[in-house]
Amino acid sequence: MADSMLIHNMIRICPQSGDVLEEEARIRALAELRETPLALTSPRNAYVSFQIIVDLNGGHAADLSIEAEPLQGDRDAIAAAEYTFYAQWYHHIDGKYYPDALVPLTEGGASVRTLGEVTGLNAVPGQAYAACWVDLFVPADIHPGEYKGAVRVRTGNAVQTLPFTLHVITTIVPNESLMIADLNSYADNLSNRMKYLRNNEERYEDGTYYKVERQFFRMAHEHRCLLHYLPYEHSGAVPPVFIPELGGKGKELRVKDWSTFDEHFGPYLDGSAFADTKRGAIPIPYMYLPFNFHWPADYVKFGTKGYRSEFTSVMNAFHRHFTERGWLHTTFELFLNHKKRYKLFPYDGDETRFVWDEKVNDIFYELARDALEAKEGARFVFRTDASWSYGLHFGKYADKIKLWVVNALIFSWFPESLPVLRAAGDTIWTYGAAEKIGQTLLGTAISPLTAILRGVDGFVYWENTHWGARWFETPLGEGSETLFYPGDELFGILGPIPSIRLKTLRNVMQLADCMEAWIRRQPEGGRERMSGLIAEALDIAPGSWWPGKSDLVNKPPYEWDDAGFSEAPRARLHQGKPPEALGDLTRNIWRILG
């Protein structure tokens, strides 16, 4: 029969050798891990996760399945339905097999497929180990204290019971995040990249598109992330259900019909799309507006009074409608993503490099001024994604641009920008990409921790649905452009399946949200205290998250070159550190928060 064990969630196991894939891990052999009983600590209203590693002992996994018992505490129990089991799917990365995609084995506590079935489909050559990711939700209304639980691995008639303990602390993770973990993508990539949608030309009309898209939003929401789906192409073209129907031209341009737009976005903006998730019916915190260089105003008219009439009247109509609908918990972003490299427009709306393109900020701020400066009603802001010109712009545009999404490296050169933008009441996120599958899981954990260290409001992974056509073998870019995978073709799931990296991000977001809440409760010095704990866990020098300035900043951005970037100072916070450092930090934080 199969021989199984429980291990923590910050390492991954090679399905062929059983070695720990994280080269920096303190323990790299399963035999040593077996000696350590699994003892979990978790706040309430939170997920805690661990893994079941199954040694197949030379056998095959066809009849392998997992079950769970309720956890028992002195005063409460945690129902078995709070477990979700996922089969780990292995991808071929640089000559090794790494698990990343997670295939649900249970839905609402009921088994929908077995670990054996998924392992058979994955067909890793020479597989000696299978693995199951376990999510256990710790409800908000149970008593803190010690709980005992167990999972059972069944192979035919043989059953192995694997016990563990769970220490539940008093802290309750808030449903609403204080930090934005932003998973960006571009409409309508889902329709291009999911076969189920791609093959259905009626997907917008027959409602199937909405259902599938909503599963992505829900999965992001449940993992304390935000799916941020830019609703237009670089050309300015917008898919039909991402905008209301317009009628007329020039000063007669009006919104004719909101019904399609409201059907599409209303459930995200009133929160009803998330009603039965653990975090509840919280409206999405941010959403892109579809406004761009070529919608709703006709770019043929750019620079004329007619362009202003068209842009302004529809922008004001959006503000009125959103206010009337009561969509007051979401911040709506005017963001101009156009890049001149695509030869569709002569300006960079995104990541201005040539400083004369900054006029775009002034032009479009003026066009949208009424909505951006409205004292009441829906909150509309001007957003910029900044890199080359950030150092030139943070002071100049702090009053007009209220959401700054800044290249993480370049932001680290400008600590002095933080108080300037804070004084103007601005929000600051940094942007980068998801960590590659072949890198340590600590790399996935570092974005929320860095946001705590630097005192910013969130972070963006620039693309999160680009899994690649052969994702089930090797995801595109080693998964650096996705934290989801499509469930339709292999598993008949009409939506996404998650990844280990998405689970890791969620776990750290729970921690980061509690840290941020604690910081805000302190009269002073809270961030320094939390930063000190992160630095101690990662064994880095205090302040090393501000690595100093690059010499590049002494030249105009259009003269920056690759050599300058190669030599630029970079913060190295997690590289070479053991993944168990996150466990050290987490235990420390839970001890302080109680």
Binding site: N192, E233, H234, S235, A237, D298, Y299, V300, F302, G303, K339, K340, R341, Y342, K343, L344, F345, P346, Y347, R353, F354, Y558, D561, D562, A563
Partner: protein
């Protein structure tokens, strides 16, 4: 009154009447016209970092492209202006795109026989799959060919 329809070739012929070739020659500022040779990095994305335009010239050309796409209300074509790379005329690139980017995208790339024929002065039609592209030479005020207008219909543009 019966609707008049126009072939793509006729649309292109009308379009080039209003396309100022001199502006296409100056669509990039002088210091950027040789932008490919400025790139030191090996990766393709770096080329885009060096692209800059003269906004007046670009906008004048873009406006004509968007308008010529509307000559026949019964059609939904898109258009673009191609140039040959001065440092290597075997290569070309889209310099201004209208409603969509052409199927071939925005990168510098080897030119193919149909478009080269248009660069040689001959309006050229290319039927492909279910769609059609026409290539039409664009002249400057000296009557030199400085670019080629592409008008395509039912040919998927580059999704980006």
């Amino acid at each position: 009154m019966a609707k008049t329809t126009y072939s793509l070739m006729e649309i292109a012929r009308i379009g080039v009447l209003f396309l100022p070739g001199d502006r296409l020659e100056k669509v990039m500022p002088p210091e950027r016209r040789d932008y490919p040779v400025r790139v030191t990095a090996k990766h393709e994305f770096a080329y885009g970092d060096e692209v800059d335009f003269d906004e007046d010239n670009f906008n004048a050309l873009k406006r004509v492209l968007l308008l010529l796409e509307r000559i026949d209300p019964a059609r939904r074509p898109y258009s673009a202006l191609w140039i040959r790379r001065p440092e290597n005329p075997a290569l070309g690139e889209v310099m201004v795109a209208g409603g969509k980017l052409p199927k071939e995208g925005h990168h510098i790339q080897p030119l193919w026989p149909d478009i080269l024929r248009a660069f040689g002065g001959q309006p050229t039609r290319l039927d492909r799959d279910n769609g059609q592209t026409v290539y039409y030479p664009v002249h400057n005020s000296d009557e030199s060919i400085v670019g080629v207008l592409e008008v395509s219909e039912k040919v998927p543009g580059l999704f980006i």
